[in-house]
């Protein structure tokens, strides 16, 4: 596996976590809990942005591994 595809894999699992957490943030009745879910979502978003940028760089460096 290339570095690029590994990073993409991590990015995908982060996306999965994010979507499930979003569901929990919406489902929970407690304001504090939903606030904590939201904070976590923001941080995960930051990490995802970094990884997305990294994927772009890697694809630029190794165009043969572009795409899925």
């Amino acid at each position: 596996m290339t570095v690029g595809s590994k990073v993409k894999q991590t990015l995908a699992s982060l996306k999965g976590i994010k979507s499930t957490l979003e569901v929990y943030a919406l489902q929970t009745q407690d304001d504090e809990t939903s606030g904590i879910y939201r904070d976590s979502l923001n941080i995960i978003n930051e990490v995802m942005d970094d990884l997305e940028k990294r994927v772009q760089t890697l694809e630029f460096e190794e165009p043969q591994y572009r795409g899925l």
């Binding site: 570095v3 590994k6 990073v7 894999q9 991590t10 699992s13 982060l14 999965g16 976590i17 499930t20 957490l21 569901v23 929990y24 489902q27 929970t28 009745q29 407690d30 504090e32 809990t33 904590i36 879910y37 904070d39 976590s40 941080i43 995960i44 930051e46 990490v47 970094d50 990884l51 990294r54």
Partner: protein, 285 residues
């Protein structure tokens, strides 16, 4: 009119009258009543019985019944308004053990022997007198026991652990019927429930009890106990995935040659670690 007819009619009407009266007086459980409440109920019961078998005159009986019903209601009302009246009617709780020492005078006052005190303490799981910090006899005759702080059950607070608030679960399926009101309380609807059941591979009429907890997980008990139902483990899974992502990020940081990128990876791994710590009480407990 014949005697038996009179007794029949009186009994039937008094049956419902007594039922109504007991409902009006209140919801007190027999075990929570103080001795006076108990005597009061007894008097009402006896008067009702005497009227119904025609031992006492109907009018006299009803007057007596009215007094024994209205006075306690009035006193209860006054007791809510005034502490003095409340103490007069209900009495005050008596301290039996204070600072770990038995108050012998108070014990005599409530006519309790040491044996009986120990029995009551045992029933509260205090087998050792040395473990008891404080014990008080409530006005109902119950004994409430406060254990020494070292002997109290451990709570998450004692362990310095944060736990997520767990709202009460709502029962959404009972006997195969979907209950709409509890579902609406959670902000969910029948479609959501049907999707969840479909995911589990279960039809709604096979479900005996279905409960949704505060975080929206569905737990079901089936009529057919041979069927294995998956227990929701989504939260544990998210936590494990977060751990995996953190490990991945650290691996990337080790792999990359670019120092700037390395720093970003380490930073991100730390961020995920922080999220993990934040979510742990909610996902795992």
């Amino acid at each position: 009119m014949k005697d038996w007819l009179i007794i029949l009619l009186r009994s039937i009407s008094l049956f419902f009258l007594t039922l109504a009266v007991i409902r009006i007086i209140g919801k007190r459980q027999p075990s929570r009543m103080n001795p006076f409440n108990f005597a009061n109920y007894m008097v009402i019961a006896v008067i009702a019985a005497l009227i119904s078998v025609n031992v006492i005159n109907l009018v006299f009986g009803l007057i007596a019944l009215a007094v024994w019903v209205i006075t306690p209601i009035a006193l209860d009302y006054l007791a809510v308004k005034s502490k003095w009246v409340h103490d007069l009617i209900n009495g005050k709780p008596t301290i039996l053990i204070k600072d770990g020492k038995v108050m012998e005078e108070n014990l005599i006052q409530v006519r309790y022997t040491g044996e009986e005190l120990l029995r009551e303490l045992r029933s509260k799981n205090a087998f050792n007198l040395a473990d008891v910090e404080f014990a008080i006899m409530e006005t109902t005759g119950d004994i409430s026991v406060l254990m020494k702080s070292a002997k109290k059950p451990v709570t998450p607070y004692d362990l310095g652990r944060k736990v997520s608030p767990q709202p009460e679960p709502e029962t959404v399926i009972l006997d195969g019927n979907i209950l709409n009101e509890p579902l609406a309380n959670l902000g969910l609807n029948q479609d959501w429930l049907k999707v969840q059941l479909e995911n589990m591979g279960v039809s709604p009429d096979n479900v005996f009890i279905g409960q949704v907890d505060g975080s929206g997980n569905l737990y079901i008990d089936l009529f057919d106990d041979a069927l294995q139902v998956p227990i929701p483990k989504v939260k544990e899974l998210i936590y494990a995935n977060l751990e995996k992502c953190q490990a991945d990020l650290i691996a990337f940081a080790l792999d990359t040659k670019d120092p700037q990128m390395k720093e970003i990876y380490v930073n991100d791994a730390n961020k995920i670690g922080k999220v993990k710590g934040k979510l742990e009480p909610y996902l795992l407990r």
